[in-house]
């Protein structure tokens, strides 16, 4: 299910959703991150790392940006276990809990989306600009894009797995 969701979001982003950027470079959305955020927090660290790498690989293959999304996806995949650990409830995650609004709450989803998107967009900004003197100018658009991506992920949460609806994935 996770793999199918990743593949679907990668294809959708590459073909259709990438252009949903109302303020140009200030709001570059990364819709595929939602599929990565939907990886259960109870999953193993290697699973999350592999998912991040595969997501980046898929995005690069679909969008022709060889290596850029792979680096960012790998960084996010490597950071995701840490993020899950930081955001874990006091008693830990229950086996049946999914990373949705209904199971883990709005705050958890929002913080994870913001932090995850920030990690991804900052890594992407680094490899996109590459030169140190260009990075200060690219930092703010990366952060606003991270916020925009977090908003998009929240929107997908609301549309696909709303708080009142029981998840089955």
């Amino acid at each position: 299910m996770t793999l199918a969701r990743l593949a679907l979001m990668v294809v959708l982003q590459a073909i259709l959703l990438e252009s949903v950027a109302p303020f140009g470079e200030w709001t570059r959305p990364q819709w595929a991150l939602w599929a990565l955020f939907m990886v259960p927090p109870q999953a193993g660290a290697f699973t999350k790392l592999g998912a991040g790498f595969l997501m980046g690989l898929g995005l690069d293959l679909m969008m022709g940006t060889y290596g850029h999304h792979m680096v960012a996806g790998t960084v996010l995949g490597g950071a995701l276990p840490g993020l899950h650990r930081i955001l874990a409830p006091r008693d830990g995650y229950e086996v049946t809990q999914k990373p949705t609004l209904r199971d883990l709450g709005f705050q958890w989803v929002l913080v994870l989306s913001l932090l995850g998107a920030a990690v991804f967009h900052l890594a992407l900004m680094l490899v996109d600009t590459w030169h140190a003197h260009l990075m200060p100018g690219a930092l703010l658009p990366a952060l606003t894009s991270a916020v925009w991506t977090a908003c998009c992920c929240l929107l997908l949460h609301l549309l696909i797995v709303p708080p009142g609806r029981k998840t089955n994935g």
């Binding site: 790392l49 290596g67 792979m70 680096v71 790998t74 995949g77 490899v127």
Partner: protein, 270 residues
Amino acid sequence: MRNLGLLLQRNAFLLTFLLLLGVSFGVLVRHDGSARSSWFRAAGGLAAGVEGQQQQWRDYLELAEKNAALAEQNAQLRSQLLSMEREGSWYLDDGLGWNVTTGMLIKGPDGLARSMALGTPGTDGGLTVGMGVLSNGVAIGTIVDVGERYSRILPMLNTAGTWSCRVGRTGPVVPLQWEGRNADRLTLSDVPRYTRAEVGDTVFTSGFDLLFPDGIPVGTVHSSHQSGGSDFKSVSVVPLVDITSVRHLEYIRNRSDSERAVLSQPLPEP
């Protein structure tokens, strides 16, 4: 080996992360020109830095050997310089006020006590009596008579001549003469016994006879002899050139020669 396995197992996630990141960067560098150029520049800079550091260490470690080689080279150069100073050569310095005319020796001294030498040119070349005669920068005599085309030279190999010299550039002024026996030996007489005259020391003109400027090399010390109880010693000198067989000559004259001659005369009796 087991510990290595445990270490790898404990850090498997980190290693996997680094591996995937390396693969990602590899793809990025391979396909992104900007990233590739930056990568190569950074890698080149790093390699150059490492190489420079290694070279500095190599230089530091080889410092003693290089120092020894330089010391040896320095000793050789000093030796060469000393040899050159001993061999001696005098070159015209216009600032000293001396004119030089060149000529040829057509008859050298034959080794007899009173033999003279003959050279060209004469008055047609501007020569005058009293000019110093050099050969290859070494003092060998003075002009005592001038014809139209030839000049008579009193060489140092003549017992009638006495030349004002000193051992070294700062030694006491003493007369140099030829004793008429050996063409390879001149003699400095009345040398104060405190004068250092080591074998090989160069003997220079003092300039006090007004024939030559001071500092023109004449010969080198061969030996010194001091009679028992005497305050003076005699020094045997080997000429720097073979006066009997020289060919090319330089005649020198001070531009203020007449003025010097007048002023050097004793004061008239009142």
